[in-house]
Symmetry: C2
Subunit: 342 residues, 2 copies
């Protein structure tokens, strides 16, 4: 129960700002959510991203979506404490410029500056996966753990780390590019023409391509019937369904899980996280199959000194991890800088 609910009238300036906005800029859709200071959801809004309409229209769409969420939440826009934006692609963390978003076709987008002018409050930009892991750390599977590592296998394989309450990052860039760590020197090429990276061994795209071959060879008739052999049609849900009925697909998924497990071994040996959170499209579609197999591989291969330090958990916030995390990260950064300067 807060002072406000008790009917006491505190000086509003002495209280932390009551509302925070989290925003998730995806390749196909954007999502804005307004939270109160206890991070209860008050309202939200969603739009298609439409990257092809260009940067000026894109920034305006972002602003309109945030405005809609604020309106939907029925709160005073003047009392927004700050906005956290989860963005894909490389960012300049100091200036809040989105340097490149291949899925949107955008380059050098001054997200932070534009939105600070638009909403007259502080805006904090973060990598979308980092924001998602921060969300899981604050409200989900990694709640308050000293060190949380998140791995999100999907079309690519993203990762992030929250260490002692803060997003782990480079000097002026994101890091934890788990999908790009070299795993199998003799493996197939990934999208950057590097052989055997984790993404080349275990992304949804790789699994879909292997499943398409199995379907083509007649080893997965139910998948062939449901999705054909076009990898654009072989989505996580179809793979999950086929993995239950078709031995060939189950084997493909488990083989990919083994590689993800070895990447988790690398992460544990390097970072000794307390919690490893597994999420993303593939994990959401078949949490048991994937996580059981990943955990088995990890337990078999991790050094005895690390056996008892970690747990492996399924992400809890799903699609909302990034909006939760972006809002909470903005609050954490803005509150920290306010405390320092006061």
């Amino acid at each position: 129960m807060t002072d406000e609910t008790l009917g006491i009238c505190p000086n509003p300036d002495s209280l932390p700002p009551p509302y925070w906005v989290g925003f998730d800029l995806g390749g196909t859709k954007m999502l804005a959510t307004v939270f109160d200071r206890e991070f209860k959801k008050l309202g939200r809004a969603k739009r298609k991203s439409r990257g092809n309409e260009g940067i000026t229209e894109g920034l305006s769409r972002i602003a309109r979506t945030i405005q809609d969420a604020i309106q939907n939440a029925e709160v005073d826009p003047q009392r927004i404490g700050g906005i956290g934006i989860g963005c894909p692609g490389p960012l300049d963390l100091n200036t809040g410029v989105l340097k490149e978003a291949p899925n949107l076709g955008w380059k050098n987008v001054p997200v932070q500056e534009y939105l600070e002018n638009e909403f007259n409050c502080r805006v904090v930009v973060a990598n979308d996966v980092d924001a998602g892991v921060f969300g899981e750390y604050k409200f989900g599977a990694g709640k308050n753990a000293r060190c949380v590592v998140g791995i999100f296998p999907g079309t690519g394989i993203g990762g992030g780390c929250v260490y002692e309450g803060k997003i782990f990052h480079g000097a002026n860039c994101t890091c934890m590019e788990i999908g790009h760590i070299p795993m199998v020197p003799t493996g197939p090429l990934d999208g950057c023409n590097n052989p055997g990276s984790l993404e080349a061994m275990a992304s949804r795209l790789v699994i879909a391509a292997a499943a398409a071959q199995a379907a083509f060879r007649g080893q997965a008739p139910s998948l062939l019937e449901s999705s054909g052999t076009d990898i654009r049609n072989i989505r996580s849900g179809a793979i999950a369904e086929a993995a239950v009925n078709e031995k060939s697909i189950r084997a493909i998924v488990e083989h990919a899980a083994d590689h993800i497990g070895m990447a988790v071994v690398t992460l544990i040996h390097l970072l000794a996280p307390d919690v490893v959170v597994l999420g993303g499209g593939l994990v959401e579609a078949m949490p048991e199959i994937l996580c059981e197999r990943i955990e088995k591989t990890v337990r078999k291969r991790v050094l005895p000194a690390f056996e008892d330090v970690f747990t492996i958990k399924v992400a809890e916030l799903g699609d909302e991890a990034t909006v939760y995390g972006a809002a909470a990260w903005a609050a954490s950064r803005i509150n920290a800088s306010t405390t320092r300067s006061s």
Copy 2:
């Protein structure tokens, strides 16, 4: 110039403690060094470790070595601010107990408690490699960098990370076990029976074993003459010498360097360090050959987004990195806790 050199008499209690001790507990020798508050070396002492004489005698040898260093430095033992101990093997960071030191044959050694009673000052225990990386961060190749990763290929391959001024570690354990990250699924077994870990591909022991085979086959006559085919006799110096004259040995060293380079790619993609410090016996014996090759591999394989964020440097403190780092880490921890509690 300090107040003291100006002839002003400050209240000694208001000044930071004037002396710090750094200690390096190795498998064969132990080293203690006394520093002033600017970390100028004032005195040192060295002893053989003699793990086989047992834990009680071992602790007493550690204390005697520290006493000798204090005597050698000609400082008042009452004015030691704290002692930092760099230890091999798994540690309990909370209690300062050395859980296991296979090279000494010791288990569950209460290093911190024993020395705190002995010297009546705070004692901080750290992993020896972590302490070495902290030394390079404070005084050496990684001076004041936001994130420093150190890799030390020798008999094993150790690693450490200093992130935003602090040693990166697990909840109650060390981490950055770079030698144990899986690199080549089809590779040879390491000492823990895991295939293709970095240590199984690129340690001094692995290089020595490959060099012994080359010598046996008549492909490295100079090495055969200098060191024979017993890997105990094929030390880093002999490998370095042979790598200059014998193509076969050069190829073996470069092949190992390629694997170390790929491990550095993994570290850069995960942690985006500003500085990667290469040290240890192998690097000290042939810094040019190894570092040039490692850097070449890394530059070829690192993602464009990380190209400009890091530099690769040779360690600067050699054998003294751990005593420097242990003393400075103790000072940093003790000063931080004093500031918090005052």
